[in-house]
């Protein structure tokens, strides 16, 4: 007691908030240098005409007005929306179904889980190349399967076909659901056993138990991951950039790709910055809407 009582007097009096700030200062500096300042700069650039090699010239809201009449902007917006509208719900359902199956007290869970998780570790460039090979119109494994096993006579030329390129990318996105699967599985394993037992005593089968008991319990986790998946989908870039270069006929030209082209191909930094702010706004609005809509659907754990 005596030692403990003596020590505060000996310690130098540094206000605790300064000590705390000092410990988090590396992040604070990084946040300012690589985040806050670039964001502020970007807001300013978005109000300028900035061809990168010459200084920016203030043009007011011209870039934002240009967007309203930019057909390509509308096209990439619609393409990205369609991609997200299919990829997010399908990916979520696939991940939930796989997690639900893995949660059935099966043996060898780690092996099955590994098979589904490994694709998320594959570098995007490599998975893009593998899927280009799989989707190849003549020799690709997918079309060979369609011809010889399913019996299709004229399978699509996937990435080379305006109508099929975007659906092909959605299919490919379903291959990379390992992260949500692992997260949902962990959440399902946290569902109290008593809830299942009570539902089983009420005569519910496994499918109805999953739908009526497990899913409502893990709904906050699902919501969070749907938000993350939506944000990821809005950023989709590398896969179409490598596999289709936005084609054919701009069928897979997405928002981030257009932003990239404006900034680094056309060197229109002003317009690119305006695009970035609109993208941020879209993501914030989508996130907000999802949280609001789901307020009723999501189960709040009572304290």
């Amino acid at each position: 007691m005596a030692r403990a009582g003596r020590s505060p007097a000996r310690r130098r009096r540094v206000p605790p908030s300064l000590v705390g700030l000092a410990w988090v200062s590396p992040w604070l500096v990084g946040f300012l240098a690589f985040f806050a300042v670039p964001m502020a700069l970007s807001l300013y650039y978005s109000l300028t005409d900035y061809p990168l090699l010459e200084p920016p010239i203030y043009v007011g809201a011209q870039n934002y007005r240009d967007m309203l009449h930019d057909g390509v902007f509308r096209l990439v917006l619609v393409n990205t929306l369609i991609y997200a509208a299919f990829s997010v719900p399908l990916g979520t359902v696939v991940a939930l179904v796989i997690a639900g199956l893995l949660n059935q007290r099966v043996r060898g869970v780690s092996l099955f889980r590994a098979a589904v998780f490994v694709p998320t570790l594959v570098p995007i460039v490599a998975s893009a190349m593998v899927w280009m090979w799989l989707f190849n119109g003549e020799l690709g494994l997918i079309n060979q399967f369609l011809i010889h096993v399913v019996g299709t006579t004229h399978p699509p030329n996937w990435l080379g076909d305006k109508a099929w390129a975007l659906p092909a990318l959605v299919v490919m996105s379903l291959w990379v659901v390992g992260q949500p699967v692992v997260i949902y599985l962990a959440a399902l394993q946290d569902v109290p056993v008593q809830l299942y037992e009570a539902a089983a005593l009420d005569g519910m089968g496994p499918a109805r138990r999953f739908w009526h008991v497990a899913l409502p319990t893990i709904s906050p986790v699902v919501l969070f991951n749907v938000v993350i998946l939506t944000i990821t989908c809005w950023q989709v870039f590398a896969v179409p950039f490598i596999m289709t270069e936005g084609g054919p006929d701009r069928a897979t030209y997405f928002y981030t790709h257009y932003l990239y082209d404006n900034a680094f191909l056309y060197q229109k930094m002003g317009y690119a910055s305006a695009l970035a702010w609109v993208q941020l706004l879209i993501i914030l609005v989508l996130t907000g809407v999802m949280f609001l809509v789901s307020r009723k659907l999501v189960h709040q754990r009572s304290a």
């Binding site: 000590v19 690589f34 700069l41 590994a114 490994v118 694709p119 570098p123 799989l134 020799l139 060979q144």
Partner: protein, 296 residues
């Protein structure tokens, strides 16, 4: 509450066995579908070029016994490609990833300690700010970052790829903070009584106890760096600086009609190290991903 024996009532009997058989069949089918692309990649990488064009396709080369020989031929041809310098790109990737991972672990654990083990005003608000930056995608800041880095002459160097990570990374800070919070408060008090400063507590007590969490951060960040495509694409300008991801893209695009067996051999080479890491550390990986997604 009394526990029901497993074989009693409606749960037991042949229906249950049928259901289990169905679950296993479905899981095996799903696993095969998910493994197929990579298996097909491996199979293609161990065949001569003319055997990638067989209709209908075959999983194994003809003759099968020569597959190791074919594989060796393909892989060595990729490794020694006269234009795309894979050995150099491997070295570049290791340098960039190593610097980034080291900085990320060191800075993030210091920041996480400040958020988890010290009480101070404004802590909650600042941590909320850390979390909110995780929601902001890189494309939103890439244009102004490029301008910034080109002003200070960093474009065309490795620096934009690793220096920012020496100032903490939001995901890693979050993961480490959650872990630090689970360590009992009494540890700090005991250390304080023994005359430990915050730094001593952090260095001698908290960090040694956090090895599992640090391992998760190292693994997740290393795979992130290994796989990253967009940042190297923007910030690296000379071929000599390329990472493996960029090199693979170059290998695919420059030749136009590089045979599929070589492309698949190159892809396998880029994937193999990450897969090996996963096989060796599967539990750590899975725990880390689960912890990242279960935040409330």
């Amino acid at each position: 509450m009394s526990r029901q024996p497993h074989n009693s009532g409606f749960m037991g009997g042949p229906g249950r066995q049928l259901r289990r058989a169905l679950v296993y069949t479905t899981l095996i089918a799903i696993s095969l579908v998910y493994a197929a692309p990579l298996l097909w990649m491996l199979s293609t990488s161990a065949r001569p070029a003319d055997q990638t064009m067989l209709i209908p396709p075959r999983l194994l080369a003809d003759p099968t016994s020569r597959m190791p020989e074919y594989a060796q031929e393909n892989y060595s041809s990729v490794w020694h490609d006269p234009v795309v310098n894979f050995p150099l790109y491997l070295r570049n990737t290791l340098v960039v990833s190593g610097l980034a991972v080291a900085g990320c672990v060191i800075s993030s654990s210091i920041v996480a300690y400040g958020f988890a083990r010290i009480r101070w005003r404004g802590r909650g608000a600042l941590f909320a700010l850390v979390l909110s930056t995780m929601m902001i995608p890189f494309p939103v800041v890439m244009a102004p970052l490029y301008v910034l880095f080109s002003r200070i002459g960093w474009v065309g160097t490795f620096r934009p790829l690793w220096v920012p990570f020496w100032f903490g990374n939001a995901f890693s800070i979050f993961l480490l903070r959650q872990f630090f919070l689970t360590l009992p408060k009494e540890l700090d008090e005991a250390a304080r009584i023994d005359g430990c400063s915050h730094w001593g507590t952090f260095w001698r007590i908290i960090l040694p106890l956090s090895r599992p969490a640090l391992a998760v951060v190292v693994l997740l960040h290393f795979t992130y760096m290994w796989n990253d495509f967009l940042a190297p694409l923007i910030f690296l300008t000379h071929r000599d600086q390329f990472t493996l991801a960029l090199g693979l893209h170059l290998y695919q695009s420059q030749a136009g009609n590089t045979p599929w067996n070589l492309l698949m051999a190159a892809s396998t080479m880029v994937i193999a190290p990450v897969l090996l890491l996963f096989v060796l550390t599967q539990r750590t990986f899975v725990q880390g991903v689960a912890a990242e997604g279960l935040k409330e």
